[in-house]
Symmetry: C2
Subunit: 192 residues, 2 copies
């Protein structure tokens, strides 16, 4: 089978995505370039073209990898929280917030409008997996339409996280997680 390494490099595709994630993390989304990730992986500037037809495809793969780590961040925080519906929801939100703060460049790309190909199957799968976590922790509070509750929680934590990393003044708050706990109180959630 094709489980072994490809011809020259040894799974170049994964190396390029890895280098891309590191580059975005270090220097931001705008610093990402095909030629830089190619150099980081030790291949020629045109080698990535065989795995990613365009820069947009590379960005899409990087965003998909971002969603995998994003889901993992939420799952970790949920696992660390007490096993009640409210603590699970709060845990997911804290995992959400921690990921955004620790990976602001990636987070920007994930939720930007033009940084990836939204139809990409791999992206859809990873993004859907993240949404599934949100849907799961929202379920205990669902009303007539579960989507309403999911969107309320998602909007709240996403807005908070986005604002927290966007340099709109709230960046210098002493304890962002503590602040979010108070904000979260404003959500009228009740297990049904």
């Amino acid at each position: 089978m094709a489980e072994g390494k490809p011809h020259h490099h040894g799974n170049l595709r994964a190396a390029l995505v890895e280098a891309g994630v590191a580059l975005v993390h270090r220097d931001g989304p705008d610093a990402l370039s095909i030629r830089k990730v190619a150099a980081a992986a030790g291949v020629s500037h045109a080698a990535p073209a065989h795995h990613f037809p365009s820069l947009l495809h590379l960005r899409t793969a990087i965003v998909a990898e971002g969603y995998r780590r994003f889901t993992a961040s939420m799952e970790t925080a949920i696992a660390e929280a007490p096993n009640t519906p409210r603590d699970a929801a709060l845990g997911a939100c804290l995992g959400y917030l921690r990921f955004a703060r620790a990976n602001s460049g990636l987070f920007d790309m994930m939720f930007g409008t033009t940084d990836c190909i939204h139809d990409d199957p791999d992206l859809r799968e990873t993004a859907d997996a993240s949404y599934a976590v949100l849907a799961r922790i929202s379920a205990p509070f669902a009303g007539a339409d579960p989507v309403d509750t999911e969107l309320a929680i998602w909007s709240m934590i996403h807005g908070f996280a986005s604002l927290a990393i966007s340099g709109n003044g709230m960046h210098d708050a002493p304890d962002l997680e503590e602040l979010f706990l108070r904000i979260f109180e404003a959500l009228d959630l009740s297990a049904r």
Copy 2:
């Protein structure tokens, strides 16, 4: 006085910002380039350098203009709403959402992490003016710390608007404003 037109063009700076806003609106933030806005304004590719030392400065000016229109969008929606605290808050949110949907590229730049110089005086002024609208409509619901309420409302509408334009599946909802009305219900707001 210097109220008349400058030497060659006639207020090139404003023309560049205008062309930049149009370009971002048409082709997205990544399509913005100094050379394109220069061409749109009918000047040479290096002319903008006298008004904007770098692309980041141009983007910052475009984002500042975005905040002006953003504030106007909220004020318009507030003015159209009934004169109650709740309707004013809801109106501001609808103005927020309408701006995001009608100017998704600009909105992306405004709340991205790396698209502008956050220290810029003009940007600070316009961004603060937007925040002042949020603070004003939040005031009637303020608890011990007004910031908590401001952030709760801001996070909710910002998250909802961001998600709505980010191609994460909710783009095809039949009536986004109606959906937000239901989401907004989940906020535990009571005039005090």
